[in-house]
């Protein structure tokens, strides 16, 4: 017979999966809004942000109830404590999507090669999906893959950033669009950080050791 706590933890994980699904939908719409310079798609991203906020309140409440009423320990405690950190990471991903999407109408006509900007969006999206899959599937290997992938996103961000600076210096007519794009790529880079944070929480849930600030640890899990 399953414990009542197991049923409640499954409900919590299902809720986080649903919230992550909304986050992924927001990322997809954001990529499309950027590609198509589409204000309606950007508006849809903003509408979904409200759903994210509602999920955050609901899931926070579920976690607090579980802590107060079930007094979880060991693996259960780690999962609920980490959920309390994963939920705001997902909510922040939604906020970053809004920040990107609202700039979509202002980056036309394109000044960057579309492929590099699109690649940044897709790599970031992949990290979010893997991080959520690692959480749901208790997959430490996948979580480590996410953490490693962050370097690639950081590198791509740096490359595009330098290209935008070069464009601004060479053509004053690019400055407004480049300024918007600098904020766009910064927000993509932050979403990748959020995915990394989720992956670090997954490692903590599974292994009981913090994967954060590894330079401060003698025996870090990564």
């Amino acid at each position: 017979m399953p414990r009542h706590l197991d049923i409640e933890i499954k409900e919590l994980k299902d809720g986080i999966l649903a919230m992550a699904g909304v986050a992924e939908a927001m990322i997809d719409l954001t990529i499309q809004a950027l590609n198509e310079h589409s204000r309606p798609k950007a508006d849809q991203v903003h509408i979904l942000d409200r759903t994210m906020d509602e999920w955050e309140l609901k899931l926070d409440h579920q976690c607090i109830d579980l802590l107060a009423l079930q007094a979880p320990t060991a693996g259960d405690l780690r999962l609920i404590a980490s959920s309390l950190k994963i939920i705001p990471e997902l909510e922040r991903i939604g906020d970053h999507c809004c920040n990107i999407a609202r700039r979509a109408p202002f980056v036309h006509p394109p000044i960057l090669s579309e492929s590099s900007l699109e690649r940044l969006g897709h790599e970031t999206r992949g990290m979010v999906r893997w991080a959520v899959d690692a959480f749901i599937g208790s997959d430490g290997g996948l979580a480590r893959t996410v953490i490693q992938a962050d370097d690639s996103v950081d590198e791509l961000y740096g490359k595009i950033y330098r290209e935008l600076i070069r464009l601004m210096m060479s053509d004053p007519l690019c400055v407004e669009r480049a300024s918007h794009l600098i904020l766009v790529i910064k927000n993509w880079e932050r979403i990748a950080d959020q995915a990394t944070n989720i992956a670090e929480e997954v490692l903590f849930i599974l292994e009981g050791r913090s994967a954060k600030h590894t330079y401060l640890q003698d025996n870090p899990p990564i």
């Binding site: 414990r3 706590l5 007094a71 979880p72 320990t73 060991a74 693996g75 259960d76 405690l77 780690r78 009981g208 050791r209």
Partner: protein
């Protein structure tokens, strides 16, 4: 709270090596080896019948009222084996006090309950006894509640007060170790909270070993937790680690309620 990054500064007070305990043919404890640090609270957890209470009783040889018992292995207090010849059992029980699950005051006055131990050890003058009784009742956080009715019967006190009186009775003979066998299982949450606060206060000078079925109580009051199963030690470590990242699957299953 002790954490894995904090080095232990307290010396080992109780040391158990390969302890086995048999009731007739039945082996209740088997191959127990562990150390208990001075001025720390060590919680013993485990399912009913796993030998927790028996283990506690071994520390002051209170089980010796039964002749069918056989104990092998070493149990040392401050490096001295309490099972070797020449140990004064009465003095051992003064040094190692015990509080039981159900409060068991003597059917005497509050004062006489606390004075009982010191009288046994030869303190008879009234002034000294008055001082000892007041000191023990203060240490047990009971003085303010009973100072005006010391002559009243102890059996008229509430359950929580009776349990603190039993702690005062144990403290009156100035023990070094206090064994507590589920001391709050018969108490309401307020009385439980008072006992837990008392434990945290007493550990400043005493070594405390507590058996409890209440996981949260073990987590709240102890620095170390030992998990017993079928008379064996499965895992022992810092309470903070045991309750967040136990090493043994069996420990995890027990403290998260998946056992059985």
């Amino acid at each position: 709270m002790l954490s894995p990054n904090t080095p232990e500064t307290k010396p080992i007070k109780l040391s158990v090596k390969d302890l086995a305990f048999c009731y007739g043919e039945k082996r209740v404890l088997d191959g127990l080896t562990l150390d208990i640090h001075a001025e720390r609270v060590t919680a013993i957890i485990g399912p009913s019948g796993c030998g927790k209470s028996t283990f506690l009783k071994c520390f002051n040889r209170i089980h010796e009222v039964s002749s069918a018992v056989k104990v092998t292995g070493d149990m040392l207090i401050d490096g001295v084996d309490i099972y070797r010849g020449g140990i004064d059992v009465v003095d051992l029980r003064r040094r190692v006090g015990m509080v039981f699950q159900k409060p068991n005051p003597f059917p005497k006055s509050i004062y006489e309950n606390v004075a009982f131990g010191p009288r046994l050890f030869g303190v008879n003058d009234r002034a000294s006894l008055d001082l000892l009784v007041e000191d023990a009742l203060r240490k047990a956080a009971l003085w303010d509640e009973v100072k005006d009715r010391l002559k009243e019967s102890a059996t008229g006190m509430s359950g929580g007060q009776q349990q603190r009186l039993c702690i005062a009775r144990a403290l009156a003979v100035n023990p070094e170790v206090l064994l507590m066998d589920e001391p709050c299982s018969a108490l309401d949450p307020i009385a439980t909270s008072k006992i837990e606060e008392l434990i945290l206060e007493l550990k400043k000078t005493l070594t405390i070993v507590i058996v409890t079925h209440n996981m949260q109580q073990a987590a709240r009051v102890s620095e170390y937790t030992a998990f017993f199963w079928l008379g064996k030690l499965v895992e022992m470590g810092l309470t903070e680690r045991i309750f967040t990242t136990p090493r043994e699957r069996m420990t995890e299953d027990y403290i998260t309620g998946r056992f059985g």
